[in-house]
Each structure stands twice: as C-alpha cells, then as structure tokens.
C-alpha cells in the first residue's frame, strides 16, 4: 500500500513525550476537540492554512492571487496584530485550499499545515536521529491528533517502525474502540495515555466527547502488562483542585493495577498564536499558564498513594 496520510509536523529532539530524545510524528486529525488543545492544527483531518499574523505586512498579494474571494482585504498591520483584533486573513468557508495565496506570499506569512507523507518518508526522517535514541533510550512517538483514528495507516507505520528496531510510544487519548486500541498497544513499547477528566459531562463539554470509552479502555489496558504512562492534565477551573486529584487517585486505585508512571501536565498557553493563525478563537484566553511549582502539591498526593510521578513528563526523569 503506497498510501499517504497528513502529517502536521515531525518534531525531532522531543524530550517530554516518552523516554529519552524522541521524534514526535503528529498525525493530523482527532475526534476530540479539547478547549485547551495545544496543537489545534492536529484536530482537523484536512489541510489548513496558517496565517502568521506577525509576519504579515498586509501587502495584499494573497488577495490578488486568490481565485475564490476567500481573502479579506488588507488592514493596517498594527490593527491586525492587536491582541483583541477580530480581523482574519482567510475566510475559511470560501477557501477551497488551492494554496495560490501561500505561493503569492513573500513574507512566509501563509503556510500550509498538513503534508501528505508515506510511511517511508516518515521513517526516513525519524531514523535520522537514531544516534540520539541510542544514547537516551529514545525513539519515535506516534502522536496526533489521535493515532488510533488513523487506523490502518498508523498500524502499518508502527509495524514498519518496529521492524527497524525503533523504540515506540503511542500517545493516545484512549478514545476509540478497545479492539482498535488493543491492536495499537500491542505494537508499541510504551503507551502515553491521557486522562482529561473523570466527570463525563464536563468531559463532553470541554472535549466534545464523553469519557466512558476512555475510562473503560484504561481499565482494560491496566488489565494487561503493557507499560503505561498516564498523562493527567491540570487545567484551570477544570482539573486543578486537590479534591479532584484525590478523586483521580481513588479511581486509579480501583484499576486492576497501578499505571507505571504519572505525568502531571500543567496547562500553558504557548499555543495561543496557533489559534489565531488558524482563524480560530482561543477559548482559554482568560487563563494564565500554571507554574509547574504550583503542581508540586498535587504531585505529593499521587506520590503518597504510591505512584511514580513527574511534573512535565520529562523523558529524562527516572
């Protein structure tokens, strides 16, 4: 099969997504739409265009190049760059993704997100950093988006990577059918499993999907021997209280076995620009990033219950 899938980015020298130095392969497309998502460009399964606000000088070249009238006329760059500006360059509804505007832009202010890549292309790039994996216990992390939503392609990619003796991590939300997840976890060395919230209603509100399949899959997963690092998000007004995390501990203790490690991932807002680039609203605008130091107390809660915990999920701890 010579198929390709859309990759939003292949990020080398990633140090917080599994052990050691890793290369993250971000598959584009995810069934969840978390309000705080740090990689909003990985949500859609199709290609998109970034409009990099600060690089744009509003020269109007893109407007002239566009055959579909999908570009808004220029305004003063200072106006567009203002924090509260509602100005958008691309009218998404009219855009048919011909990318003529991207070609026309001399300032690199317009950029295509999502490159179709074959398994060979992906692995060629991943393998470039093998020497770093060897010295750090690193390898490839298949991430997204949601890898399990990329079915056969993603499974084949993992097979091919395994045959090249790469250490593999699966970074998953766990939102899929157990039968599918089962096939994925069987192919990797470590599962990075997200736990976003215990309350299904809140979960639905903030991510667009209920949490039952996720919790259910986690239960099944802990019934196996697969290595699991559970990634617990600490999001303001959502999952930041001590009480909540005590509940999480209680829940985790009901599982067939303890997960191998817990990474507490404090919320940050570095991704805000990306929302603007995609012409989307950043829903978390009112929240400041959480200082990792503040999360130390939550770490204690998990540690007291006998869990192995990090803040930030470095691949160089333990």
């Amino acid at each position: 099969m010579n198929s390709e899938t859309l990759i939003s980015q292949i990020q080398k020298f990633s140090v917080n997504d599994g052990p050691g130095f890793r290369t993250n392969v971000f598959l584009k497309g995810c069934p969840l739409h978390c309000a705080w998502c740090h990689n909003p460009e990985t949500q859609s399964f199709g290609r998109e265009i970034y409009w990099k606000t600060r690089l744009c000088v509003q020269c109007g070249e893109c407007l002239e190049a566009c055959p579909s009238e999908a570009i808004n006329p220029p305004i003063a760059p200072e106006e567009a760059q203002k924090e509260n500006s509602t100005y958008q360059k691309i009218i998404t509804e009219k855009c048919d993704l011909c990318f003529k505007c991207v070609e026309a832009c001399q300032y690199n202010a317009l950029e295509i997100v999502g490159e179709p890549m074959s398994i060979d292309q992906i692995l060629k790039e991943v393998e470039q950093d093998r020497v770093f994996y060897n010295n750090s216990g690193g390898g490839m992390t298949l991430s997204g988006g949601e890898p399990t939503a990329h079915g056969e392609f993603a499974l084949k990619l993992l097979d091919a990577a395994k045959s090249r003796k790469l250490h593999l991590c699966l970074d998953t939300s766990g939102f899929c059918q157990w039968d599918i997840l089962k096939q994925f976890v069987a192919k990797v060395d470590l599962v990075l499993y997200d736990l976003k919230h215990l309350d299904s209603k809140l979960h639905l509100k903030m991510t667009g999907v209920p949490n039952e399949p996720i919790l259910d899959n986690l239960k099944k997963l802990t019934g196996t021997d697969y290595r699991i690092w559970l990634r617990i998000l600490v999001i303001p007004d959502f999952s930041e209280t001590i009480e909540y995390h005590r509940d999480v501990v209680k829940f985790l203790l009901t599982l067939p076995r303890k997960v191998d490690r817990i990474d507490l991932l404090p919320y940050h807002n570095w991704c805000e620009d990306k929302y603007k680039w995609l012409g989307r609203k950043w829903l978390m605008a009112d929240y400041q990033a959480i200082d990792p130091v503040e999360v130390e107390i939550l770490k204690d809660i998990y540690e007291m219950a006998g869990f192995n915990v990090t803040v930030g999920g470095s691949g160089f701890e333990n």
Binding site: Q11, K12, F13, S14, V15, N16, G20, F21, Q106, N108, Q128, D129, V131, F132, N134, N135, S136, S314, F316, E317
Partner: protein
C-alpha cells in the same frame, strides 16, 4: 548586610547566576573581581579610563637605541631587561598573586618594534592617551618616528613579493600579521618548570662547551656557533631580568609589610608574597601559591616581549599535584584558601591588557586575547588526567565569572560523572565555557596531520581557541602565523566575480572565467577549487616568509629561553630549523557561507534553472537591492547547512575534502601539511562589511555565520539533532581540524537533574557522531534583550561569542544582535 540563603535561592531560581556568584564568593575574591579593569575593547573602543602605557616603550626604546651594535636577540634582551628592572610595579590590596603587564592596573601595552601601522593606530586612537593629551601626542610621535619604517613588519614588507604583500595587507582575504610581534606561542612547560636559575645553568654549560669547540680545530661546523653565543647570552639576560622582576615584588611586599601594613593577617600575606617571589621563578615551585605565581610570572614576562594573543596552557595538569599536596595531603591550606588562589589566578590573567589594532578588537570583541586554558584530558599513558584542581577551577570559575581566560575541556569517555556535573554547572550558569573537545578525536587528528607521536599528542593544549598542539620539546609551535587565517567567503565571492574584489576594488583572485559561461555546477565548483587553492597559497606563502624572517626581524629571547630545543641549540625559538615538528593550520573564517552559497547556486541556477547566472551576478553586484523576492528565494528555497539535508551537506563535505586534499599538498616551514580549521572568533562581524553579497542571501553589511561549522543564524530549522547530524557528516580527523560549533540551549529545559541527564545524552551523541568541538550559550533571549536595554543591570552576563566568551555588554550591538539571532535550541 549578609545575604540570606533564601535570597541566593531566589537568584538561582531566576537564573541570575551573576548575583549568586557575587553573594557566595569570598570577600577577597569579591574585592579583587570588582577591582580589576576591563581591558578588552567594548566593540571597537577601549573602556573609559584605559590608557596606553608609554613608560614601557620608552624604557624599551632607550636601551634599544643604546645597543645598536648588538645582534638582534641580545639587543632585544637588554631592552626587555631595562623594562623589567625599571618599570613601576604595584601590589593590589588583598591580592596574593603579583605581576602585571604594564606599569599601572588600568594600562594596556603595545610593542613599537612590531608594526608601524599599529604604532600609528595608537597615535590616532580615541580615548586611550594619558593626560595631558598634547604631551602624550609628542611622546607618541617621537616613538613612531624612531620606529617608522624600521619595525619587523616594515622589514618583512620589503622582502615579500609585492603583489602578495599588497593583497595580504588589503585586509580583504586574511586576518593577522605575519610576525611574532602579533601572534601566540605554545609554551614548553616541562622545560620552563625547571626554574629559571637551572635554565641559566644549562645555558652556561652550553656556552662553555661551545667556547671549547671554538678554540679547537677549525671546521665549517664551527661557523654557526659564533652566532649562538650572543643568543644564549640574550636568553640568560632575560631570565636574569625576570628573576629580578620577581625580586622587586618581593622587596615591595616586604617594605609594605614591615613599614605600612597594620593588619597582622595582611602582613603575613605580604610576607608570604615576598617569600614566594624570592623563590619563583628562580627555583621550581613547592606549593600551590608558588606554582600559580610561577605560572603567572611566566605569562606576564613573555608579554614584555611581544603580544601573545593566546595562552596555550593546562593549568589543572600543572597545578594539580600542588593543589592535591597542599589541600588534600598536607592540609597546609583549606580548600577555600585554594579557591581564592585559583580565583585570583583567573582575575590576574584577565588583568593583562594589550593594545590590539582595530581589526583584532573587532574580531575579538570584549577580550584582550583568546586565553583558552585547556583542562582535563589524558596523561601520556592514556589514563584520565582530571584531578581535584580541575574540579576546583570549574567551581571557582562560577564564582569569579571572568570572560577571559575561558576553559576548553578535553572530554573523553573516562571522565568521571562528578566532574561532568561541575562542567555542566559552568555551562548552566551561562559562562559559555568550558567548550567540549573530543580528546580521542583530536589526539588522532594531531597524529594524522602533524605526525606527533601518540604520547606527545596526548599532551595537547589548544594553542589559541581551537587548535591542538602538544607543548612538548619538538611539538611546541612558536609562531601562530606560521599558518594563516583566511576569509573563506571570498572563495565563492571570487568564483562568481572572476577573481575581482568589488569591496577593495582590486583584482585579487585568479581569473577563473566569467561565471556566466560555466555550463554545469561541476564547472562552477572547479573554479571554486582554483580560488580556494589560490587563497590558501597566498596566505601560507606570506606567513611562511614572515615566520622564516622573524628571528632576523623581530626575535624572541624570552620564548627562546622557554623552549628546551632553543636552549639546547642556541637558536631563536622561532627558528624553524631547530627540530620543530610543525603544527600549522589555516584558520578558515566565514567558511559555511561557501556550502550554503554553492547549494543555492546548484539548486536554483543549475538544477531548477529558476534564475540565470547573469541575473544572480547582477543582483549580487547591486547588493540584492530591488531584488528582495529573489533574495528570499535564495534564502528560503535552497537547502541550508545544519538541517540534516544531504543536498547541501554533501556540498559541505565536498568543499572540505577538496580543501583537505590541497592541505596535503601545501607545506609549512617545517615541511608539514596544513589542515584548515573552521572558526570565526568575531571575525564574522568584522568581515560583515568586507564580504560582498552572496548567493546564500546575505548582503554586504550583514554579519556572516558565527561558527566554523555552525549553521546560519535562524537557518537551522530542524532543531539541535539535525545540526549535530549535519556536522557529523564531516570526518573530524581527515577533513580538517577543530571544527567550531556554537549551540544555544534553552536554560529552562536544562534546569535540574533532568537537565543534566538530557545534556549528558546529548554529549554522548555528539561523541558518537565523531565531532571534536561544541560550546554552549545558555542565556535566553529575554535576558539578552533586557541587557541591551538596560546594560547597567546586566554587566555580568557572559555569552559565548566564538572560541571565547565575553561579557555581553562589552561587544558591539551588531555582535549582540547576531548572538540573539542564533537559534535557541529548545530541546523539545
């Protein structure tokens, strides 16, 4: 007010390491550190208050004039002797190490015998003349007129091929002066360590033996002996003068102690200084203080002979046994006492100030010379040479935060984890040093290129920033400019313009043909090769003649006394016939532009045919004016070095291999081959206005790339692993030597234990890729920008410029901007 542990912790958390240093160092080190003058130029000008020393050249010139009939080395020795015996001396409060280059703490010195153009430059210089200015101008004019036309460089210019001389001195193609008036020499420390009186005795024996021969049977063999005698006499003269110089300090210390000092503790210290100076350098040292004082005298005294712009040295190796004896075995001093001595060693070295011509100041911004001390490494038998003194130097470096000297660490797989942690702390505290050098690779390199035997190669020190040289009897290189420094971006520039230089308006390189007529990339590269060979040849020819003539035109009595092979043979240390093995290299400044420019030409002109060569040349001649779209195309749509992209990486390797092949054809004065050594110091800024627009997208005026093999600032889009991978494609033994790589790392990512583990894995991979050098800047953009805005508050921020570190506020704005432009490698 005492600082609380809590305050220190806060500074640590904010990563304001300079405050941490100030609050945690001893009060002595704090005083000494703050009392020392900044001798490096701030960008191009000296700091307010710095003055040129006029007493030194006047004392020197006086004796020089009186001894016109003497052979040069003896004449020079007497002149230096007069300086060492009569130049004012001083002892800084709280200081334990004495000796300074210059008659006052705020002075910088220069050598009027070196080059008329430097003498005139001093006359023309803003802000460094002692007041009243009129009087200084008269003194300077008198000095300049005496030396004008008669300096070492004037003499050399008369014998050089005129065309070579003009092109060399155009300033377009090379850096440096082909005279040991401006250079640096490896020191034969094993020999020097015998004690000056013992060297004098050795010379006595040599002279007696020679006298006997001269009274014996006539033979042609006798004839060279007559010239040796005055040389030996000259060596003895300077060694005596050095002993007297130390004795003057001893007397001064005693006078202060016995007549003026009221604090009993300080009195004791002054008497110890006196005893130390009575012992060294006449006799070998016995204690750590004597050892460091000895070392410092050796370094200071030689700088009354010439500008030594580097300090090839292995202080941990040299002082380690004394450190161990005093601190760990006899416990005659505490570890803190020892740190005070080592800390002051750094400070006294920083105090050395020598006037540099403008091109040097711009290329070595913020420092006097590249005083890179080599640490760590292995012993002759290959065992780990790191010792407790190595650790102590790393610790005290973080306390005094001196930008010069800096350390270069000879890393090898046996280095203990504890020491690696100390090194990491230095880097994490933003010192920019030690740089890491891959010992096994550089040992192999020294054997491959220069034939140093294994046991000697294992003793290597960096001769300046980068190049290894064994400080052994036949390994020592007395004269850096035995090789040369090439402005390599000119290679591709001349390839495009048929050898014509549009900046200095001169036909410089050979006419390799109109580039428009090159049908293929191979033809283009062939022309590039011819330009490369021409550039290396003209530089090496020029400096080789400078080297050969140096004993006649300049002469080095002190260095000769420092060299066992010169003492043994009664020759000048610079004399290339006294057994020197040869350790020459050509420093390749502005090298990486070649790879990126060739790749852009290959891709956009020959492969894609998007532009014609005529269009490109026209755009370059106009400095890309009005061709911005095209320029951006050349920047963004042609592969760039440092992204693990074989298209351009193969070109880089091809350039290096072609040049290395030529390096095997050309020879230094000793008959040895010459590798290239890509690095830049801050020559990438100096040359910004000398190198024309290039196909990599730069304009005349833009800074060139900063490292020897560092990618262009901001052009390494694929992260730090890709940078290392690209660099790993170079064979670091066969393709050249000592490839300088700058990396900026994010301080946040490297915090804590995990930061150390991460860095360690990075270093292991660097080793696996077979690279010989890497150095780190670990200061984030926001700190640097804040320092630009509010320099007063950030006086102590240190950055890695190239093969050296400098205080950020001491470098020009353009260089500052260039450092900020270097991509911060987020490490994830």
């Amino acid at each position: 007010m005492a600082t609380t542990a809590k305050e220190i912790k806060e500074f640590e958390e904010k990563q304001e390491w300079w405050w941490v240093a100030e609050k945690t160092r001893s009060s002595r080190l704090d005083y000494l550190r703050k009392a020392v003058w900044k001798k490096g130029a701030l960008g191009g000008n000296y700091a307010p208050g710095i003055e040129i020393d006029l007493e030194f050249p006047e004392l020197y010139t006086e004796t020089w004039q009186e001894n016109e009939g003497d052979p040069i080395m003896l004449r020079k020795a007497k002149s230096i002797g007069n300086v060492l015996e009569n130049l004012p001396i001083f002892i800084t409060d709280q200081s334990q190490i004495v000796g300074c280059v210059g008659s006052a703490p705020h002075n910088i010195v220069s050598y009027w015998q070196g080059a008329s153009m430097i003498n005139e430059e001093i006359y023309n210089e803003q802000g460094i003349l002692p007041q009243p200015e009129e009087k200084s101008l008269e003194r300077l004019a008198a000095l300049n007129e005496y030396w004008g036309g008669n300096t070492a460089l004037d003499e050399l210019a008369k014998v050089l091929d005129p065309e070579d001389a003009v092109k060399f001195m155009s300033g377009a193609i090379g850096w440096g002066t082909p005279s040991s008036a401006v250079g640096y020499a490896t020191k034969d420390f094993r020999h020097i360590g015998k004690g000056f009186e013992n060297i004098i005795e050795e010379i006595d024996e040599n002279m007696e033996r020679t006298d006997k021969l001269l009274r014996g049977n006539p033979s042609p063999d006798l004839l060279p002996l007559y010239d040796k005698l005055p040389r030996w006499e000259a060596m003895q003269e300077v060694l005596d003068a050095a002993i007297e110089y130390a004795a003057r300090y001893a007397r001064l210390a005693r006078i202060i102690a016995e007549n003026f000092e009221t604090d009993p503790k300080r009195k004791e210290e002054l008497l110890r200084i006196a005893e130390t100076c009575e012992r060294v350098p006449a006799q070998p040292p016995r204690t750590l203080q004597e050892s460091i004082q000895y070392d410092h005298f050796v370094q200071v005294v030689v700088r009354y002979e010439t500008y030594e712009g580097a300090m090839p040295h292995r202080p941990d190796y040299l002082h380690g046994p004394f450190f161990d004896k005093d601190v760990n075995i006899n416990k005659s001093i505490t570890r803190d006492d020892a740190l005070d001595l080592l800390g002051e060693h750094l400070i006294r070295t920083y105090e050395i100030g020598i006037f540099s011509p403008r091109w040097t100041r711009e290329g070595l911004q913020g420092i006097t010379g590249t005083w890179v001390w080599t640490m760590g490494g292995v012993n002759e038998d290959g065992t780990d040479a790191c010792n407790d003194c190595t650790t102590a130097y790393m610790q005290v470096a973080r306390l005094v935060r001196i930008a010069n000297p800096t350390f270069s660490f000879r890393w090898h797989p046996k280095v203990k984890d504890e020491l690696m942690r100390e090194i990491f702390e230095c880097i994490r505290h933003g010192l920019g040093y030690p740089s890491l050098r891959n010992d096994p690779i550089l040992v192999e390199n020294a054997m491959y290129w220069h034939g140093h035997p294994l046991r000697e190669a294992r003793q290597w020190v960096t001769q300046s920033c980068m190049s290894p040289c064994p400080p052994t009897k036949y390994g020592c290189q007395p004269f850096r400019m035995a090789s040369a420094t090439a402005n390599c971006a000119k290679i591709v520039e001349y390839t495009l313009h048929n050898g014509y230089d549009n900046v200095v308006n001169m036909q410089m390189g050979p006419k390799t043909g109109n580039a428009v007529d090159f049908k293929t990339y191979d033809e283009f590269f062939e022309a590039w090769t011819k330009q490369m060979k021409w550039l290396l040849n003209i530089l090496v020819r020029t400096v080789a003649l400078g080297r050969a003539k140096d004993p006649e035109f300049f002469s080095r009595p002190i260095l000769s006394a420092y060299y066992e092979r010169a003492v043994e043979t009664g020759t000048d240390a610079v004399d290339y016939t006294n057994g020197e093995r040869g350790n020459a290299w050509v420093t390749a400044f502005t090298w990486v532009e070649n790879a990126d420019s060739l790749a852009a030409v290959k891709k956009l002109i020959y492969d894609d045919k998007k532009y014609t060569m005529a269009e490109l040349i026209e755009a370059l001649k106009n400095n890309w004016d009005g061709k911005e779209e095209m320029r951006l195309d050349f920047v963004n749509n042609a592969p760039k070095w440092g992204n693990d992209d074989d298209y351009v990486d193969d070109i880089m390797v091809q350039c290096l291999k072609t040049t290395a092949a030529h390096g095997k054809e050309i020879k230094c004065v000793c008959g040895n081959n010459i590798p290239i050594l890509p690095e830049n110091v801050s020559g990438n800024i100096h040359y910004a206005n000398v190198v024309s627009a290039l196909p990599n997208g730069r304009r005349l005026g833009d800074a060139l790339y900063d490292g020897g093999i560092s990618p262009g600032p901001g052009l390494d889009k694929k992260g730090p692993t890709a940078v290392l991978k690209s660099c790993g494609k170079i064979d670091h033994v066969l393709d050249g030597r000592a490839f300088l790589l700058n990396q900026r790392l994010s301080p946040t990512q490297l915090a804590g234990e995990k930061g150390y583990q991460l860095w360690k894995s990075y270093v292991k991979s660097w080793d696996d890729l077979g690279m010989d050098h890497v150095q780190f800047n670990m200061v984030d953009d926001s700190t640097l920008r804040a320092a630009q805005k509010d320099p007063e508050k950030y006086q102590e921020v240190i950055v890695r410029v190239a093969g050296y570190s400098a205080h950020f506020v001491d470098i020009s704005r353009k260089t500052q901007d260039n450092i900020i432009q270097r991509t911060v490698q987020g490490l994830g």
